[in-house]
């Protein structure tokens, strides 16, 4: 162990830099006498360094002479101010520390052995009164540090560097052949394997028949491979429905097969190149290119470490796209949080406040997407109390690749090559972690499951992999996600066999046990099968882009996965058992009947509209959208914000991928409505499919070529009602997909989104189904946006208005025909603006169009009930008067789906009438200001 001294540099800004947002958050936590917080950066350097070298490092590397001042801690007495210091726990990814060592060495100061970073906060109380120690601890725990990845100290902190914590190479034997049922379950629990008794018995019987015991490496690999996260056992389970609703079959042999894949098979779209097989769904784009789309969730990690959880969620889904040999061209994010104004006293034990979760998650998405250079273009933010303890973070990625360039068959003799980041103890058992209910202890136990991403390393992977693909240097590729190398290599070798030498895996720090190396979910790694003669060429590419390459073994045709550590074989599993040995689960489902709840009829229309516009789920999200770079790669044709002042909410986004010829574009949209999920899961599924399709159609996507992705986030499926609602939602997916001829090409489920409070109370999320849609725009120049364009134009309602006031609105069977007619009118150039009507009904939709175009509108509805009623299949469109007849002609067989409501005005006012009475009359200014007044704005500007 090194005895070199540690030097600490404190860097401050020249201008006094109070952080008002932190002061406000501190007041919200009850630390009301805080007046002022300043943040300083800490850099720790270990090494025998001369004063001149320290000065050079401070001046040339660690500070900006224009804006910073600095002091080496040993040179100054800082004890006269109240301070709190925060540093990362050992082993947490710290790219800045890595760069400091690299740059110091480049400057010739090679005595710098290690570096670490931290923050120092200094405080002033109101009226110069110092803060109480309890208050400082509250600020540390609840605002400034996250115990999961950070340490803190009042006063000065000492950095810690990763230490050798384990003896090298220890492999435990797990004697499980003689265990009783109770002992098997205890074993599953103790190792956090999340396996049930049947599964444990299957493992036991495998080892009994082989006449030996399991190693810990083997047991952990089986647990990961058989986890809900990796194998989706609920979606493959045999389910008995205990009551009949709408006459579904009484036994369902797999939700995935029965509903989702079945819909795709029945639709059999020729432009779908790969559905449910690869890491992402793959579609035709043009003659030369294919596009891929995948949406993942990273919910549990985001609950306990919001920044890192969301950050690595983005990184993970980008690797899914790299895993189909595609270049990532767009990112999407849909976020669900608890109410931002929640009383901190109402929080379940050890749950972070929704404000903190929100700001951390958004910062995590921003950090990864912006740094890696992928535009974050599409998304949504939704607030509901049900997400307080279980936020949802859906991260999506779209890729483009030349056709038929994605190889999928490793050959015996191919080398197993790991590219990218090194392996550490981070992210152990993430797959099983995400498959369990959380409780107050989860953050402590699962700390190792959460990581911070390193987008720059992953950017290097994009550079190398796209070039390696073009040069045909590999025969198969997959990402290292949940389960780490065990899952990646295991999956790739499932039809062949593999032999791995664990001691060849490059580690971030020494001391990992073999099972930890095999299971680690360290980020930014990909596994490739590389023919021996191509390894040198790949190595040269890696050198150019500063990506590490490690050869850890070879594929073979043994039908076994074998892992060695030194001279010992620590794992030998038959692939058939590993990948097909899991017993099918048998579950019981009791679908809850749809509720009879009705949409409320408001009394004060005028106020209701303003309230809706400033409702957190409807109000402008521009403050968040602008934190994301949605322009990089230069292909964002319909932007998330649009209109006269670039602030109207687009229904969908359109992209023209760089490097493609012709005028074709991609359209991305989504549908999400957990409120409906609380009342009628089947109806919700139909509604959100319609919403996603409608949003895509609104910007000009061809409704006959839209593909869908499903992401189910649900509670514990062992409860029959919870599973029943899931079955109903899946049935809705099937029926909705068939109705629109829109196949599912990829999907993912995240179950067990529940939090068990210390008081025994369950906090489950509302049933949540995100539908992401991807479609095409034949000519990006023909895109339509939602902002009103010109006074004097006519406003039509398109779509069949339902008479029902059910919370979950019905979906008219003619809706696909309506969308086709609308699309034909768009292709003919007849539609100037188009906006869907969803939350808040036609009134909100009309108001948003006015805001987008900074123009007025004067319309007459069929009845007052149509003002705010939420409907499916409905849009508002703007048509020039001279095109009215041509436009109406497109709907001649759908007359009930068209109504001329009024016109666009240059009088800056929205006026809505019904039965001759004015229901709403608002100035444009009041609409804009209500819409920009959503609570929980971040950051405060």
């Amino acid at each position: 162990m090194s005895e070199s001294p540690i030097h600490c540099l404190v860097v401050s800004t020249r201008a006094e830099s109070n952080v008002p947002a932190l002061v406000a958050d501190a007041h919200a936590l009850g630390v009301t006498n805080l007046a002022h917080i300043e943040k300083h950066d800490l850099y720790f350097l270990r090494g025998e360094l001369e004063p001149a070298q320290l000065n050079q490092l401070a001046v040339e590397l660690l500070t900006d002479p224009v804006t910073h001042t600095f002091v080496w801690r040993n040179d100054g007495d800082m004890s006269d101010v109240q301070a709190l210091e925060v540093a990362l726990r050992p082993g947490v990814t710290d790219p800045v520390a890595h760069e400091i060592v690299r740059a110091a060495h480049a400057l010739g100061i090679t005595a710098v052995e290690e570096a670490a970073t931290g923050q120092r906060y200094t405080f002033r109380g109101a009226l110069a009164k110092p803060l109480a120690t309890d208050d400082l601890l509250t600020l540390a725990r609840r605002l400034l540090a996250n115990d999961v990845i950070q340490r803190y100290a009042i006063g000065e902190i000492e950095p810690t560097f990763p230490q050798d914590a384990h003896a090298l190479g220890v492999v435990e034997t797990i004697p499980l052949t003689e265990l009783t049922d109770g002992e098997l379950l205890a074993l599953s629990r103790d190792r956090r394997a999340a396996l049930d008794l049947n599964e444990m018995r299957a493992i036991q019987s495998y080892y009994r028949s082989r006449g030996r015991q399991a190693t810990d490496v083997e047991f952990e690999m089986i647990a990961q491979t058989w986890s809900e996260h990796c194998v989706h056992k609920t979606f493959k389970a045999n389910i008995s429905l205990s009551s009949l609703v709408s006459n579904p079959p009484t036994v369902i042999n797999g939700i995935l097969k029965t509903y989702l894949r079945a819909a795709t098979d029945k639709i059999s779209a020729p432009w779908v190149r790969s559905a449910f097989v690869d890491n992402a769904g793959i579609l035709d784009f043009d003659d030369e290119h294919e596009i891929s789309f995948k949406v993942e969730t990273h919910n549990h990690p985001s609950a306990i470490e919001p920044f890192g959880g969301a950050n690595t969620g983005v990184g993970g889904v980008i690797r899914d796209i790299l895993g189909v040999s595609a270049k990532p061209i767009a990112a999407t994010d849909v976020l669900c949080f608890g109410p931002q104004e929640l009383d901190p006293g109402q929080l379940p034990e050890n749950v972070l406040h929704p404000r903190r979760i929100r700001s951390g998650v958004i910062a995590g998405v921003q950090d990864y997407g912006n740094k890696i250079g992928i535009p974050t273009v599409s998304g949504a933010i939704y607030y509901d109390e049900g997400y307080t303890a279980n936020p949802l973070v859906f991260c999506g990625c779209v890729g483009i690749a030349p056709k038929d360039k994605h190889p999928r068959a490793p050959q015996p003799g191919d080398r197993i090559i790991v590219l990218g980041g090194r392996t550490g103890r981070d992210g152990l058992r993430g797959a099983t972690f995400s498959s369990m209910t959380m409780d107050a202890q989860t953050a402590q136990i699962a700390g190792a499951s959460v990581q911070i991403g390193d987008p720059i390393t992953e950017k290097g992977l994009i550079e190398v992999i796209t070039r390696a693909r073009d040069a045909e240097l590999y025969t198969a590729i997959t990402d290292c996600g949940a389960g780490g190398l065990s899952s990646a290599v295991g999956e790739m070798a499932s039809d062949t066999g593999a032999e791995v030498a664990l001691d060849d895996v490059r580690l971030k720090y020494p001391g990992l046990a073999p099972w930890e190396i095999w299971l680690s979910e360290a980020q930014e790694r990909m596994v490739l099968a590389v023919p021996p003669q191509s390894v040198n060429a790949l190595n040269a590419l890696c050198d150019t882009y500063s990506v590490e390459l490690t050869d850890i073994g070879a594929f073979n045709d043994s039908g076994h996965t074998r892992v060695h550590y030194g001279s010992r074989q620590v794992l030998d599993l038959e692939n058939h058992f590993l990948h097909h040995g899991i017993p099918q689960r048998h579950l019981t489902a009791t679908p809850p009947p749809p509720s009879n709840a009705r949409q409320a009829a408001p009394a004060n229309f005028e106020q209701r509209l303003l309230d809706l516009l400033s409702h957190p789920n409807i109000a402008s999200k521009s403050d968040v959208i602008r934190l994301y770079d949605h322009e990089v790669q230069g292909g964002t044709v319909v932007k998330p914000l649009t209109g006269a002042q670039n602030d109207g909410p687009s229904d969908a986004v359109a992209l023209k991928p760089i490097g493609t010829q012709g005028a074709r574009g991609i359209v991305l949209s989504c549908g999400l409505n957990p409120e409906y999920g609380k009342h009628d899961a089947y109806g919700m599924a139909l509604s959100v499919i319609d919403e996603a399709v409608r949003n895509a159609v609104a910007v000009g996507a061809d409704p006959s070529r839209i593909a869908l992705l499903d992401n189910f986030c649900w509670g514990d499926p062992k409860r029959p009602e919870t599973l029943g609602a899931l079955v109903e939602a899946a049935r809705g997916c099937h029926d909705g997909a068939l109705l629109f001829g829109a196949p599912f090409v990829s999907g993912k489920d995240s179950l067990n989104n529940e939090y068990l409070g210390a008081d025994g109370a369950r906090h489950a999320i509302p049933p949540t189904l995100l539908i992401s849609a991807i479609g095409y725009l034949d000519n990006v120049g023909d895109a339509v946006t939602m902002d009103l364009k010109r006074a004097g134009n006519l406003v039509y309602r398109v779509g069949i208005l339902s008479e029902s006031d059910a919370i979950v609105p019905p979906l008219a069977p003619e809706t696909p025909r309506v969308y086709r007619a609308l699309h034909q009118a768009m292709r003919a150039g007849l539609v100037r603006a188009c906006h869907d009507s969803s939350e808040g009904g036609l009134a909100v939709s009309a108001a948003e169009m006015c805001i987008g175009g900074r123009l007025g509108m004067s319309i007459e509805l069929e009845s007052p009930a149509a003002l705010f009623r939420e409907t499916n299949g409905t849009l508002l469109v703007e048509i020039e008067p001279q095109n009215a007849a041509a436009f109406e002609e497109h709907f001649r067989t759908l007359l009930q789906a068209l109504a001329n409501l009024g016109s666009v005005t240059d009088h800056p006012k929205l006026e809505i009438r019904a039965n001759g009475k004015t229901l709403v009359s608002h100035t444009l200014d009041s609409l804009v200001s209500a819409w920009n007044r959503g609570p929980g704005r971040y950051p405060e500007t």
């Binding site: 040339e60 590397l61 660690l62 900006d64 002479p65 224009v66 804006t67 790219p95 800045v96 760069e99 400091i100 740059a103 480049a106 400057l107 921003q366 912006n370 740094k371 890696i372 250079g373 390193d454 987008p455 720059i456 950017k459 290097g460 050198d543 150019t544 882009y545 500063s546 959208i625 602008r626 934190l627 994301y628 770079d629 949605h630 322009e631 990089v632 790669q633 230069g634 964002t636 044709v637 319909v638 932007k639 914000l641 649009t642 209109g643 006269a644 670039n646 023209k656 760089i658 490097g659 990006v780 120049g781 895109a783 339509v784 946006t785 902002d787 364009k789 950051p939 500007t941």
Partner: protein, 262 residues
């Protein structure tokens, strides 16, 4: 012969393809060159007539945006870049590239000296304290800068940065930059009138609405916004309202035409 443009790719560079497309459209022959190929000598500076440092997050912006790329420029390529600049070849730093040029001391050199003069200016955190992506209007302000010379129309293009706030260590340097006509681009209102510091017209709080500065010789330009992302009509945020412009392109055309002459 089309001028060859070297687009420098460092670890974390991400708008290299955007820049290549703009240069291609402007009539250059762009080549994205990994920094390590220059270090290894498999690519040579003298084979190129222009240099572009594109946007991105070189080395993750660790220790300040552009800081570590600046270190590379000064440690490995000091002579090569000096020769390139002294030869009068056009050099353009966009966003992260601008940050690197400033932190390397290649911009703005307020004393008019050709030597590197670091520490005189910086691009620090936006006044709002966070990253921001939005479209801005720029007004060309320098006849000395070969990239903006003769440009009468405004440029409309996006910004996407968290550290674009141009500040000087010595406020008297502002007068020196003005006097030498080194303030190449300013944030402006849509009609071209001065932004006068008003957010979001001036999106980051930059001194004197400065969006871009050039060196005393006028051949090196650094700017925070991304004209390379407005070279097609469909990139304009209001192309569905009949607005268009490709107004990011002329800057590249200027640079390419200048490179073609030398």
């Amino acid at each position: 012969m089309l001028p060859k443009a070297l687009i420098l790719h460092a670890t974390g560079t991400n708008r290299d393809h955007d820049a290549a497309r703009a240069l291609d459209l402007a009539g250059a022959q762009p080549e994205i060159v990994p920094l390590l190929h220059l270090r290894a000598g498999s690519r040579r500076w003298r084979d190129y007539q222009m240099l572009v440092l594109p946007g991105g997050f070189a080395y993750a912006d660790a220790l300040g945006a552009g800081k570590l790329l600046a270190l590379d420029l000064n440690l490995y390529f000091a002579d090569a870049v000096n020769d390139f600049v002294a030869a009068g070849k056009p050099v353009l730093g966009i966003c992260n590239g601008f940050q690197a040029l400033v932190k390397a001391g290649l911009l703005p050199s307020p004393d008019g000296t050709p030597e590197r003069d670091p520490g005189r200016a910086t691009l620090t955190f936006n006044a709002k304290g966070h990253f921001e992506c939005r479209w801005v209007t720029l007004r060309a302000a320098s006849q000395k800068c070969i990239w903006t010379r003769g440009m009468n129309e405004t440029i409309y293009c996006p910004i996407a940065h968290g550290e674009g706030n141009f500040q000087l260590a010595d406020s008297r340097d502002l007068e020196r930059l003005r006097a030498r006509d080194q303030i190449a681009l300013r944030y402006a209102r849509g009609d071209g009138a001065a932004a006068a510091g008003a957010y979001p017209l001036n999106p980051n709080g930059s001194l004197d609405d400065i969006a871009g500065v050039c060196n005393p010789q006028g051949n090196v330009l650094g700017l925070m916004p991304h004209p390379e992302d407005h070279i097609f009509n469909y990139q304009h945020p209001r192309h569905t309202r009949g607005e268009c412009g490709q107004s990011g392109l002329p800057l590249f055309v200027n640079g390419v035409q200048y490179a073609a002459q030398i």
